[in-house]
C-alpha cells in the first residue's frame, strides 16, 4: 500500500521546527513579502522522519542491492570516504574563508589535481565542474577558447553515433555544430570513418574509451594523429575510465582534454545519493584556458589561489566545486594507491567478461571481442514472444537486482557493468537470475509482461504518465 503523502498527513498547527516569533522589521521590499503562508504541509518532525525512512526502504541502492547499471559505474562507496569528508576541518569550512585559513583543504585540492593528472596522463586539472556533463561543457569551452586564441575559430565537433547524449549536447551548448560519425558493425571507430568528416573547421573529436559498447577503441592512436594533423583537439569522456586505472592513460593515447566522473570511477555517491564532480584535465598547451582560480603551491610549501589568468574561460562554478565530493575521491585514491587502482580496473574488466561468457548462450554479446569493464548483450527472440527489453529490466527487479542499462547504445541490448566491488557469489547469483529470466522469455512471457510482481509498486504506465503529466494536485 502506498504510504500517505505529507500533504495528506497535514494538520493545521503541527510543525517540525519551532521558529522564534519576531516583530523585528523585515528588510525586504513590501512587494516581495509573502501575504499568505506558503502552502506547505504541516506535520510533526517524527512523522516527516518516518515518512522518508519508510520511502527509503523501497529504494534500490548500492548499499542494498547489486546495481549493474551499465555506463554508470555503481561501485560500492567505502564508508571511510564519508568519515574523511565529514572531518570538521573540511565539513565546517566556510567557502569564503581565506586560503590561508584553509590550508588543509587547499592541499587536498592541489594534491587531488596532481593525482588525477598522474592517473589520466594530463598536465593540469580543474576540480570546479559539478558533474560529468558540466565537465564536458568546460572542456568544450576550453577547446573554443584555444582555437580563438590561435586566431582561427572552428565550428564543428565530431561525435560518434554511440556517444553519450551529453556529448553533442555539451558541444552544442558551447556553440559548436555536431557532426555524427557513424558506427561500424564491429563496434569500433575506424580511421576511414573519421577521415571524410574531419577538416580544418573541426574543433574537436569527443570520444569515450572504452566506448559505450564496452570495447577498447584500438585505432585511437591513429585517430589522435588524424585529429592533430588537422589541428583538432581530442576530447576524452571519462564515463568509462573505470576500465583503465593504472593500465593505460588517456593522455598517452593522445587526448588533449579529459573529464573524470569522480562519482563513477572514484567511488563517490551518485544516482540520487550525491552531487557529482566532473574534474577536467588538459595537456600543457591548454592549461592557460582552465577555469579560474587555480590552486598553486608557493615556494614556502603553502597553497594559494592564482587569479591572474588572462586566457582562462572564467569561473565554471561558485567557490571550488563540490568540495565534499572531492574529499571522498581523495580518500579513495589515497586508500587504494596506484596498485589498488590497477587491481580495481583489472577486477572490473574480469567481472564483465565473466558475466559475458556465462550468459553468452542466452544473451550473446554484441561483439565477440573481449569487453572491458562492461558488456553489451543482445536480447534476441524477444519480438517472437511479444516482449521488449524493458520487460527483462522490470523482471530482474523481482530477483533483487537493479536493472542493467537497456536499449542503449543499440536496440534490444542490455548493458551490464558489474564493477570490481562485487564478489564472485554475487555475480554467480545474478547470472543465475538472468538465466531464469531467459527461460521465462521462452515459456512464461506473461510473467515478464506484467513484471515486477514483488516490488512495492508494480508496472508503471509510463505512457499514461508522460501523456497526462500531473505535477500538482
Amino acid at each position: 500500500m502506498r504510504p500517505p503523502l505529507l500533504n495528506e498527513q497535514s494538520k493545521p498547527g503541527l510543525q517540525a521546527v519551532a521558529f522564534p516569533v519576531t516583530n523585528d522589521p523585515v528588510d525586504l521590499p513590501a512587494e516581495h513579502r509573502r501575504q499568505t503562508p506558503a502552502p506547505l504541509p504541516e506535520v510533526a518532525e517524527v512523522d516527516v522522519v518516518r515518512h522518508f525512512t519508510i520511502l527509503s526502504k523501497d529504494n534500490f541502492s548500492v548499499d542494498t542491492h547489486f546495481y549493474p547499471l551499465g555506463s554508470c559505474t555503481m561501485k560500492y562507496n567505502p564508508k571511510v570516504n564519508e568519515y574523511v569528508s565529514a572531518l570538521p576541518g573540511f565539513a565546517q569550512l566556510h567557502p569564503l574563508q581565506p586560503a590561508s585559513h584553509a590550508q588543509g583543504a587547499m592541499r587536498l585540492i592541489f594534491e587531488l589535481e596532481q593525482m588525477l593528472g598522474e592517473i589520466c596522463g594530463m598536465d593540469a586539472f580543474t576540480l570546479q565542474p559539478a558533474a560529468g556533463a558540466h565537465g564536458e561543457l568546460t572542456g568544450m569551452l576550453i577547446a573554443r577558447a584555444a582555437h580563438l586564441a590561435r586566431g582561427k575559430p572552428r565550428r564543428k565537433v565530431l561525435v560518434p553515433s554511440s556517444a553519450h547524449g551529453t556529448n553533442p549536447a555539451s558541444a552544442r551548448l558551447a556553440g559548436f555544430q555536431i557532426v555524427t560519425v557513424p558506427g561500424a558493425p564491429d563496434g569500433l571507430l575506424h580511421p576511414d570513418q573519421v577521415a571524410p568528416l574531419i577538416d580544418e573547421d573541426t574543433a574537436a573529436i569527443m570520444l569515450t574509451n572504452p566506448n559505450t559498447l564496452g570495447v577498447f577503441e584500438e585505432h585511437i592512436l591513429e585517430i589522435a594523429r588524424m585529429a592533430h594533423e588537422k589541428g583538432a583537439l581530442l576530447y576524452y569522456d571519462g564515463a568509462n575510465l573505470n576500465a583503465l586505472l593504472g593500465l593505460c592513460r588517456p593522455g598517452d593515447m593522445g587526448f588533449d582534454i579529459v573529464h573524470v566522473n569522480l562519482h563513477k570511477t572514484f567511488s563517490t555517491p551518485h544516482g540520487g545519493g550525491g552531487p557529482g564532480a566532473g574534474p577536467v584535465g588538459v595537456k600543457k598547451h591548454l592549461a592557460p584556458f582552465l577555469p579560474s582560480p587555480r590552486a598553486q603551491q608557493n615556494p614556502d610549501g603553502s597553497f594559494s589561489w592564482q587569479h591572474n589568468l588572462p586566457q582562462s574561460i572564467g569561473k565554471m562554478r561558485a567557490f571550488h566545486g563540490n568540495f565534499s565530493v572531492l574529499a571522498r575521491a581523495y580518500a579513495y585514491i589515497r586508500a587504494l594507491g596506484w596498485e589498488g587502482l590497477r587491481a580495481a580496473s583489472r577486477a572490473a574488466i574480469i567481472h564483465a567478461n565473466y558475466i559475458k561468457k556465462q550468459l553468452e548462450d542466452k544473451f550473446p554479446a554484441y561483439t565477440n571481442r573481449p569487453c572491458m569493464h562492461e558488456c553489451v548483450l543482445m536480447a534476441n527472440h524477444l519480438k517472437e514472444a511479444g516482449l521488449t527489453v524493458r520487460d527483462i529490466a522490470k523482471r530482474i527487479l523481482d530477483y533483487g537486482y537493479h536493472a542493467p542499462t537497456i536499449a542503449w547504445p543499440i536496440h534490444d541490448c542490455l548493458m551490464i557493468e558489474p564493477t570490481e566491488t562485487e564478489s564472485k557469489e554475487t555475480l554467480d547469483a545474478f547470472i543465475s537470475a538472468m538465466r531464469k529470466v531467459a527461460r521465462e522469455i521462452e515459456t512464461e512471457s506473461y510473467t515478464l509482461q506484467h513484471a515486477p510482481h514483488h516490488m512495492p509498486i508494480q508496472r508503471v504506465d509510463e505512457v499514461k504518465a508522460a501523456r497526462e503529466l500531473r505535477l500538482r494536485d
Binding site: A407, E462, V463, A466, R467
Partner: protein
C-alpha cells in the same frame, strides 16, 4: 507495415501528401512503430520558413526524442493542434489524423528527390 500509394517519403521517415502546392507532412507507420507510444510533439507554427532536410519539429516517445525533418522547403501554413493535444494520433492514424504540418511548397523540384512508396518500402526492408 502500411505504406499508402498516393504519398511520397523522405528517407528520414516523413511522408508528404500533395494538394495543389500545399504539402501535408507526417511520419510513416514504420516510424511510429519504431518510436513506440508517442507522448509529445512540438510543431512549427504557421508562417515559419522551413528548409528541406533541416529539423523543424520534435517528437517524443517513452523510448526516444527525435527530430522531424522538413521533407520540402517552404512556408508553414498550418500545424495540427489536435495532434499537439493528443500525440497518440501519430500512433493510431499516422497517415490521417496524425498529420504534423502543412507547407506551401517553395520549390516543386524537391518533390522529385523524395522516395516513391516502393522505394521507401525497400529502404525499410519491406
Amino acid at each position: 507495415m502500411s505504406i499508402p500509394n498516393d504519398l511520397k517519403f523522405a528517407a528520414s521517415h516523413e511522408w508528404v501528401r500533395m494538394e495543389g502546392d500545399i504539402a501535408t507532412v507526417g511520419i510513416s507507420d514504420h516510424a511510429q512503430k519504431e518510436l513506440t507510444d508517442i507522448v509529445f510533439v512540438e510543431l512549427p507554427s504557421a508562417g515559419r520558413q522551413v528548409e528541406a532536410g533541416k529539423e523543424c519539429a520534435v517528437v517524443e516517445s517513452v523510448k526516444a526524442a527525435s527530430d522531424i525533418y522538413a521533407p520540402v522547403s517552404g512556408e508553414i501554413t498550418a500545424s495540427n493542434d489536435e495532434l499537439t493535444a493528443n500525440p497518440a494520433l501519430a500512433n493510431t492514424d499516422p497517415y490521417g489524423k496524425g498529420w504534423f504540418f502543412k507547407v506551401k511548397l517553395a520549390n516543386k523540384a524537391e518533390l522529385d528527390k523524395l522516395l516513391d512508396p516502393a522505394a521507401y518500402g525497400k529502404s525499410i526492408g519491406e
